[in-house]
Symmetry: D3
């Protein structure tokens, strides 16, 4: 993973979302809008909601979804240990079949941390 893999991911995601929207009917558009609504702070804080989205994506083993929520967890100031504890639950529930996704999740997490550390020092 090159140092800008996060940005590449975000750019491609954005471009393809626009393509999906170009073909989308009203139902699909409403579905996407409901999706954003689900993660807004309510009785549960946004941070907990992102951890819920992360663990759900983790046990269903979707790399793109995991990466998206890893980035969001980072933005919500999830700590290393909080992330580790959440993914340990995912690992227990989902089994060793999730391990390749755990590797890629930690790779993205590590990249986010290194990028931030470069910026702080710069």
């Amino acid at each position: 993973m090159s140092k800008d893999s996060i940005e590449k991911f975000q750019t491609q995601r954005e471009e393809l979302n626009q393509l999906v929207m170009a073909y989308a009917g009203q139902g699909t558009k409403r579905f996407y809008s409901l999706d954003s609504q689900a993660y807004r702070a309510g009785a549960l804080p946004a941070k907990v909601k992102e951890l819920l989205g992360l663990v759900a994506s983790f046990v269903l083993r979707c790399d793109d979804c995991i990466k998206y929520h890893i980035i969001r967890c980072f933005e919500e100031d999830v700590s290393d240990q909080e992330l580790e504890e959440a993914l340990f639950i995912g690992l227990m529930v989902g089994g060793t079949i999730t391990i390749p996704h755990q590797r890629r999740a930690m790779q993205a997490w590590d990249e986010l941390k290194q990028r931030k550390s470069r910026t702080s020092l710069g």
Copy 2:
């Protein structure tokens, strides 16, 4: 679901766990012990961990696992709205295929609340 369905569930679960343990090798025993460890309060509080276990079980669509975590969430004083927001994330991530599990989850939740209300009034 009769008013004692929660107790029946817990009794059967306990009996079958004993049967599993009667046949279990060292590996299986360690695995079960690791499972308990995963939900102990750490950087994340026990309540958040139970919500994570619930949503993971929900999107993987395992009724017994969902019921177990519904009971644990109730014990950890999760509120109606917190539960609803967590399951809404599960519903969005997992799709309409999770709806029958949502029905049974809410049925167990409702039973727990009615049981508590009877006890308080009695």
Copy 3:
């Protein structure tokens, strides 16, 4: 399956939907409403949409969802052979792990046919 298993299924489903709605937030309510919208006739006729919902439920192996779409397919005048061809695709895509669901799907289908035949003769 007794001869009124379809009715029992529909009654329970209705009761639990009301329970879900009693706890539901705005997001959950909109999600359920989107779900109905997805199966309305459009460029694709309602019958094809129900077959799509059936096969999706079949390969994801959700008995309640399969039963719901089996009933809807019956109402949309899907023929025995159309059903068989659709489920054969589901069987090929999803593998032998779907066979127990195929057994229960055909049991529900057979019950619907016998019920109709009794009514016509009565």
Copy 4:
């Protein structure tokens, strides 16, 4: 589970298979016939093939499929320890979400052993 739960399972399975076959087209019939072929002794002995079928059914979490292969493993003289080791692999790969299925698998195994022991003593 009453002492004749295995027989009830086998009778219902047989009845529903006949119903499926009453509606089945040529493709479905060939698929079912291929399924039997897959478990015949070849380069791998029948016992190993049944263990493979069991673990595949276990991680995909299909109770009926698990029960069928548990019975077949018993008929192929799989030992308690061989079964435990195979299911431990399933448990590790599939995670705690498989635990309710492990409980029911061991319940069926235990019933098979007790039935045999009664017969031997009788």
Copy 5:
């Protein structure tokens, strides 16, 4: 995705199918042959069968399978709106975890349309 990504996909698929067949036993060969049979026009037209295969692949989240059926749907003259309605059902049933696959499905669909439009104009 470069403009010849569809061709690259088809070439690689063909090469690897030949490799699978070089190792395949009789059972595997029959299974592949049954698979082709499932999508032949019968009581349901080929177009509906391809939509069923597409939605089944979509909710099971297999990119290669989705791409294959997207190409077949295009060949069977599925319209933009028919595709959108079928995938909306997949999106509802399968949830947001299918979204990354929807992005790649629409990317392949868009490429097929642009390729055809270039050919018509050329």
Copy 6:
């Protein structure tokens, strides 16, 4: 797949495992250690255990896990026909949705055989 794709896979896997371990808590470490334990020869020989791990990974459709077990099966002297019979069971249980994984499994297997044949001749 270039001729050294197996080595590249093993190197990346090792690097990312180290990254996971750098963040891992005690629970995650114990889980990884239990995983190695599950495949050690016991009542079942290591070869059978690797075939069980392979088929479990195959029906759950995880390419990295399949590749890992394909390599281990090769090291345990699984024959072409034993592999084919095991994967045929996986294909039957898991359905056509596993076919893209079968293609990549056989590609890795073929690479392992060609590499060995080059070494023997060299």
